[in-house]
Symmetry: C2
Subunit: 235 residues, 2 copies
Amino acid sequence: MEESVRDTVHVLAFDVFGTVVDWYSSVEREVRRVLPEVDANAFALAWRAGYQPAMERVRSGKTGWVPLDLLHRQILEDLLARFEVRSLPEPEITSLNRIWHRLDPWPDAVEGITRLKRRYTVCTLSNGNLGLLTAMAKHAQLPWDCILSAEVFGKYKPDPDTYLGVARVFDVRPEQVMLVAAHQDDLAAARSCGLRTAYIERPQEFGPMHSKDVSPDSANTLHAENLRVLADMLE
Amino acid sequence: MEESVRDTVHVLAFDVFGTVVDWYSSVEREVRRVLPEVDANAFALAWRAGYQPAMERVRSGKTGWVPLDLLHRQILEDLLARFEVRSLPEPEITSLNRIWHRLDPWPDAVEGITRLKRRYTVCTLSNGNLGLLTAMAKHAQLPWDCILSAEVFGKYKPDPDTYLGVARVFDVRPEQVMLVAAHQDDLAAARSCGLRTAYIERPQEFGPMHSKDVSPDSANTLHAENLRVLADMLE
């Protein structure tokens, strides 16, 4: 089976937050540094938890297109009020919001993507905006061939236009694209568009105090512990 | 002045065809190989000459969005008829059309962009489609931080939405973006949107039999012989 996957797939499209970069540790550490008075674990988890409802306002048409940087900023302002942070100067709010541009990669990510890039086209398919993903790639040394984003398609995942958009951009059939992600719902949506899928285990995605179910779903084409193991499978 | 340019500019957006890659030599050589019976010099120049009128049909609204790969294909089909090539099989037409994905870089391009990438965000701003530019970057080892294209903005250069789109994507002011190009009309359009501009001399852009005026225009912020020299100026 893997032989045929190697022959079929031309493009590997990577989910980014949680799959390639460890958002929890990077955000938690930055919150601890900038806001020593708040519970950094709770703040980091709440920031990320605001992400789906914020995108839902765009998906449902309640607002026009809003880039993720701005959604992050809106959630952050709510959180600063909720955690009773009163006097953070504007430049520090801006800088704190940009922590999402400076997320550290999982230890296997740069090696895995670099090895996979030799044989495949490796791109992002993230709800992060292009500017955010570009800054993050520079920070984390992620060697993408191309940065694709919800911003390019004007729709947030799991809209089918995002998954099918990758196939259209590279002029290949949907089954020639494999979505690589640490989230079963993202992978299921990609499969329903005809893409191949690879699940990546990230048991620590939500930090050491939160356990995450990383059990396999046989509907996925591949299941790998991390991106180094994925490279072993696909090389 | 250069000190202030270095302080102001954050993003270098590169025109690609002619500025970064030597389309003439790559296309002329491929035509000679695939169609030994035709005048490869004339064919290569005619293919490129079809590019502006083809984009004009999109710009004027005569047709909806058509990616450059398809415009190249339409021009190629006309040229095969005009040069009386009768029996080229379909897979070879497809492969010939993809020569635009396999253009070789000018000898200074990879070094120049690699050096500039240390200090600036380096991206493309090309009328080539994303798939074409990604394949070319893999072929020519061009280390872009991000591939931006007319395709992302739904408009071909010189539409202002393309130049201003770069500033919007990276959340910077227009004067913090510098367009790097070997074409004065492209640079003039960028300047009228508030971008800084750098002209790159490419006297051989149209091949050794065609001389190109590469004299300076003082309206440009910088004028450089090639991308290595641009890196000397901006590092």
